[in-house]
Structure formats: C-alpha cells, structure tokens
C-alpha cells in the first residue's frame, strides 16, 4: 500500500495483485492526478480555473473538464432537488470557511457576514460554447464532490482488485484481498478511536459526511462545513454522521451529504429508496441505523 497527501487529506492506494514496483507506479500516477485536479479546481488557489471563475465579473470560457464537472454537478442538483448544491461557496466563506482547513486556523469572533443563499440555477452554463456566467453572489465550491470524482478517476487507472481511499472517500474494486469484500470500518463521530460498524464492500464506493472534523469557532458558537443550501447556514441536522455506499465515490459523497442535511428520518428514507445504495446513519444521540443495500459484517 502506498500513500500521499493531496486535497488536504491522506490518500492511500492499494493494489494487492500488483507487484511492489507496479503498485508504486500506480500510486505515482494517481498522486499526479490528484495534484493536477486540485491545482485546477480548488477554490483556495487563486490561479486555479475555479478560482478565476469565482472572481470573474463577465462570462468566461471554461475548459472542457470544468464544463463536464459542472454538468455532472447539475445532474446531482436536479436529482436531489437542490439539496446538493456546489454554489454554496459564498455561504461557506460567510460562515468562516474562507481558506484551506486546518485545526484552529478558521477560529474567529462571531460572524457578522449575513448568510448567502445561491442556487445552481443562477449559474449560466453554455455547454456548446463552453462559457459560464456567474452572478456575483454565486461562488462555487466543488469540495467533496470533486474529491469523490477524483477518486473515481483514480480507480479507473487501477486493476480489478484495488482500493483508493482519500480520507474515507473510497472506491473498492473487486472483492478485496481475501475475496470476501473489502473491509470498511465506520468511525464513531464522537470518538475517532472507536468503530461503530464494519461493512464488507465489493465493486462499490463509500463516502461519509459529518461536521465533527471541519469545524471551527465563531465567537461562542461552533460552525462547520456542511452548509444547508435552503438556509445558506451550517446545517442543524439531528444527525452526527452519514456514510453512503454507492456505485461511485462522487455519487456516495453527494448522497451522504444530502442524507445528512435531510436529518435522521428523511435521510434514512432518501437512501433506502434508492436502488443499489446503502447507508449508515448515526444520530446525535448515538443511535445507529443501517439502511438499503449493505453487507454489514459487524455493528
């Protein structure tokens, strides 16, 4: 197994069927893919394409890759009735998440910036002309969606049995080293040393949303990165964490986020109603609920 750091997280690459040198080569390719994707689409880099779009005051010509990403995002926005919405960038900044996260770096006094509400539909995308027009109140943040998408692209480079794990957003190809499915441990959001459930996953992806890590002080309050597009504010969900299992990491990331915003009852229904999707929901009171298409080894 190899590892490297990218997108402000630890990325692990394992391909048990490859020899040591080949696995290293694979990890190098994937590391390059992550670095390049971050360079182009991070909202924290001024010279990234996304950074330039977020500053543009007129219609801009976008790369094919950015147009493709925006079109993919638009499909998720439609599928989730707008609960997934990457135009929350300004709301994130208003809440205090205005630079790359590190523990304590975002702590500040009470927020005086009013909540910002934007909708993806405010963005004008011309696919044919590859042009994007961004109203001034719209700031894009591709965040976890981009990370999931990158994990999926990385997995496409890997052999039939492989694991690409970007800080818990992972694609698990094949049936794992012992043929019984890759082991996925769902961490306790209240105690990182504990595992709440163990899943067996094969040829699917997993992603988790929780406000327990990317959080910061805003005066006497605590803010976090899971913005509810309906309010433009950090979510007040009754959930502490949602893990989603889906065909792709991009999809799993979107589903986990949306289920979290919906809360325990609606979030569980949202995941259970979808074919081929599974979920592990952890309520704030610690109650655990497993829904949908999942093989639970231990819970």
């Amino acid at each position: 197994m190899r590892q490297f750091r990218a997108m402000n997280t630890e990325v692990a690459v394992a391909a048990p069927t490859l020899d040591d040198a080949a696995e290293h080569e694979l990890a190098l390719q994937i590391a390059s893919l992550f670095a390049e994707t971050e360079r182009r689409f991070s909202r924290f880099l001024d010279d990234s394409e996304l950074g330039r779009l977020n500053r543009a005051t007129e219609t801009v010509t976008a790369s094919r890759e950015l147009i493709a990403l925006l079109c993919r995002a638009r499909r998720h926005v439609t599928d989730t009735d707008g609960l997934f919405d990457p135009t929350i960038g300004a709301a994130l900044c208003a809440a205090g998440y205005d630079r790359s996260f590190s523990s304590g770096a975002l702590d500040r006094g009470p927020s005086t910036t009013p909540a910002v509400r934007a909708r993806f539909a405010d963005l004008v995308i011309d696919e044919q002309a590859r042009c994007v027009r961004r109203p001034s109140h719209v700031q894009l943040d591709l965040g976890g969606f981009l990370k999931g998408h990158t994990v999926d692209r990385a997995a496409a480079l890997a052999p039939a049995t492989a694991m690409i794990d970007a800080g818990g957003d992972a694609v698990l190809r094949g049936a794992g080293p012992d043929g019984a499915g890759w082991i996925v441990e769902v961490e306790d959001p209240g105690d990182a040393t504990r595992v709440l459930a163990t899943l067996r996953v094969r040829d699917r992806a997993v992603a988790t949303s929780a406000p327990n890590r990317r959080r910061w002080r805003a005066g006497r309050d605590t803010a976090h990165h899971l913005i509810d597009p309906r309010t433009g504010l950090p979510s007040t969900s009754d959930l502490a964490q949602v893990t989603a299992v889906a065909p792709t990491a991009e999809h799993a990331d979107v589903l986990a986020k949306v289920a979290f915003l919906l809360g325990a009852a609606d979030g569980a229904r949202f995941l259970a109603d979808r074919s081929g999707i599974g979920g592990v929901l952890v309520a704030r009171d610690g109650a655990l609920r497993v829904v949908g298409d999942l093989e639970v080894a231990d819970a």
Binding site: M1, E25, G167, P177, T243
Partner: protein, 116 residues
C-alpha cells in the same frame, strides 16, 4: 656619461599625404569591423559565400494539434509515470506531484470511513 641628445626618441616625420592615407586606412578598418559586428555579414545578398540552406519550414508536412484530429485518428500517447498530456494552451507549469511513500506496515488493508 651619456649624451642626453642620444636618448631622445627619433621623431616621426609624416607628410600630409602619408597622414591622409593613414587616416583612410584606420577609418576603413573601423567600418569593416563595425559592418561585421552589426550583422551585415549575415545578409546573403552581400555575402555570396554564405551557405544557402533550404528553408526548413516549407519542407515539413502540415502540423496539427492532437485534439484537432478526429478521435479515431489520434495516436495513443502514453506519457511516462508522473507525467500527463497537457491541454492545448495550458500553462506548462504543472503542479508538483505529492510525495508517494510506502504506508506503514501497521496500517491494515481496509478503509476507515469518516468525514475528511
């Protein structure tokens, strides 16, 4: 004792004609050196001995960017590990790839999923 008159350098006596010839020679030398330095020597019309190589551009076949070719006609280009094919017009400076290391042996071959 040495006679001081013997130590005096012999005087150069130039006539007006000799002086003019001398000046013309100096000016001519300066002109030739300057002309070469400025680049007149590269001009084929004034330098018949210059090599007359064929113009290289006209001898090359037409050139296209890879993305101008139909997809079916694009050659498969496999860059070395750690490299990628850039988009046309993209700045050449690529992001430095992260350092890849072997994971600690204690790390199990499993995923710990969490928010990150």
């Amino acid at each position: 004792m040495t006679d001081p008159s013997r130590r005096r350098a012999p005087r150069l006596r130039l006539g007006a004609l000799e002086l003019r010839l001398y000046l013309v020679a100096v000016l001519a030398s300066v002109y030739v050196l300057t002309f070469r330095a400025v680049g007149g020597g590269h001009d084929a019309s004034t330098s018949p001995a210059a090599p007359t190589a064929p113009h290289p551009v006209t001898s090359l076949p037409p050139a296209v960017w890879l993305d101008q070719l139909p997809v079916a006609q694009r050659p498969v280009v496999v860059p070395p590990p750690g490299w990628r094919i850039a988009s046309r017009g993209e700045a050449a400076a690529a992001a430095p790839a992260p350092v890849v290391v072997r994971a600690p042996a204690s790390r199990p071959l499993r995923v710990r999923t969490r928010s990150s």
